[in-house]
């Protein structure tokens, strides 16, 4: 019974982590699909979302409003980022693009130090955080919030991409930018839109995790890299697969930490990533495609 409760406990924290990674990973996939760029600054959106929200709450803005405002603010920052950096540099080589988005993440991190300093800041939980006990495992309501919000958002996004005109247009840009243009869809606007959406969703991820693990200026980097791992495990272009990848990574991390060593958590995660890249580079859930000569 004790083992079972420990397993449940680890599973809960794994799902929570996975939910956060999933929100950021979906952002990766959306931007990558529309622009062909992997945005290494993705994790910083979560950081900005968390810290902005905390500042607003500290200034007596109600929590729900603070969350919405921080999403809007970060989405706007995402839009500026797309126009100034991504859009201007979109024709560069992969290596240059990687460095540019890393450069942007450096800027955002530095700006965060300037505004918020280096201290860990906390956000109150969304609701009363009295632990709930399930099968002897303790579950905090904030964890339920995390998983719940991310599932709702992910479902909304799926609906959006598959059933709405704008969403389908986004997908069309990916499949065939030229045809999309002929149909009056402007791929450039779509790129802007994709970055704004991903930034907003990233910000939400930040506000959700802030009550659980606090927020600092440098929280974005690891969140970003882990979400990136999740997206790649899922095959990089496939949002549902990226989400599955995110939960897989979250659970793997929680169990490594709980059963073995928190220090070696990253070793396990990245070894897993390397194994997948080496054995099935096109992602766990994808089919291969070849270049024509």
């Amino acid at each position: 019974m004790e083992l079972l409760s420990q397993m449940m406990q680890l599973l809960f924290s794994g799902l929570t982590l996975g939910a956060i990674y999933a929100l950021i990973a979906v952002g990766f996939v959306v931007i990558y699909n529309v622009t062909g760029i992997l945005n290494f600054a993705q994790g910083e959106f979560a950081m900005l979302g968390a810290l902005t929200c905390i500042s607003l709450v500290n200034n007596n803005v109600p929590l729900w409003l603070a969350i919405i405002l921080s999403i809007v603010i970060v989405a706007a920052i995402g839009g500026i980022f797309e126009r100034t950096a991504l859009h201007t540099a979109r024709k560069s080589s992969v290596t240059t693009l990687i460095i540019i988005t890393i450069g942007v993440s450096i800027v955002l991190r530095g700006a965060a130090i300037l505004i918020w300093g280096t201290q860990v800041q906390t956000l109150p939980p969304f609701t009363d955080n009295t632990p709930i006990t399930i099968l002897d495992a303790v579950l905090l309501p904030q964890n339920i919030w995390a998983v719940g919000i991310s599932i709702v958002i992910l479902i909304l996004m799926m609906y959006f991409f598959n059933y709405t005109f704008v969403g389908k247009s986004l997908t069309a840009c990916v499949v065939n930018p030229f045809a999309a243009r002929l149909m009056g869809i402007n791929p450039e606007k779509m790129s802007l839109f994709a970055v704004i959406v991903s930034a907003g969703v990233g910000a939400l991820a930040g506000t959700v995790i802030a009550p659980i693990s606090g927020a600092t200026y440098d929280m974005g980097m690891m969140l970003g890299i882990k979400a990136f791992v999740a997206a790649v495990i899922g095959g990089l272009t496939n949002a549902p697969a990226a989400i599955a990848g995110a939960f897989l990574i979250g659970i793997l991390e929680a169990f490594t930490e709980g059963l073995w060593s928190s220090g070696l958590k990253d070793v396990v995660t990245f070894t897993f990533l390397l194994l997948i890249l080496f054995v099935k580079p096109e992602g766990l859930f994808a089919k291969a495609s070849g270049k024509r000569v």
Binding site: S92, I102, I225, L277, P281
Partner: protein, 351 residues
Amino acid sequence: MNSKSLKLIYNNSILGPIILFAVLFCIPLVSSSNYLFSILTMIGFYALVCIGLTTLTGYAGQISLGHAAFYGIGAYSSAVLTSTYGLNPWIAIIIGALISAVVALIVGIPTFKLKGYYLALATLGFGIIVYTLFKEFSSITGGSNGFFGIPPISLFGYEFITDKSYFYLIWVFVFFAILFTRNIIHSRIGRGLRSIEGSEIAADAVGVNLMNYKLQIFVLSAIFASVSGSLLAHYVSFINPDLFVANTSIFFLIMVIMGGKGNIWGSIVGAAMYVLLDEILKHYVPLLLPNVGGQFEIVFFGILLVLTLIYMPDGLVPRFEKLMSKFKKKTPTNGALQSTISVNATGGDNK
């Protein structure tokens, strides 16, 4: 045709390197500031890593976000082998380089089947794994507390302790690294590497064993990084894992790209730019905003980086060379020089 006509393709003159080093080695005549030498020494460490990395990234077109791992393997090999096992530092440097080479080979075989973003992530992951191992195997490495008391390096009884002496030492390494890599670039091997960046499929079709080449150059660049790391360890005498985090790898790549990938001089300019900028920002920016803690000055670094890459995607040195060649085109010169310049200028960023 005689051997001179090779000059039409490759400018192999050692005049450039010699002038650079003549100028560098004249600095002690006009200044004896330890601060200056410590900065020049740091540039030397980074330049050595970047020269290797640029052959991989610039010429062969393969990204690595994990070179801090080799830098670290070199440093820790030197630290452990000299302090714990009492080996001569020179032997430790060589063993460190061998370890790095073997690790690069083992990691490289599966890794270089990957391309683009996947390769970036795989090398990043490798770097993070190695960093975590430095931190976790504290019985050997000292863990997060770091490794103290690494002995200095000496040659024929002379100990390299002062910043000035180390400045000479590291730049002699850089000098030979430049000659060695440039010789490689200007040869069958260099063409093989560049053909990979030019067109993998055509390279394959003319008989270039892509995997073999990628591995060879990965191993070579790992050795350069390892030697640089070893020398660093003997210089600072104290190392900790945080010197070898993912960010260090990222900054190596930033130096290479900013200076101009596919250009050996670019890696030296990039390393110098980085170190100087870092120093300047660290000193002057906090004066403007004295109340802020933490290294927020990286904001400015980030902005400069992004602007440079957006407006000079080829990096500084190729941009400079292009300007020079435009300038030269206005005055009649011989075609030889022109094409040499344009080889260098365009060797870089074509995808």
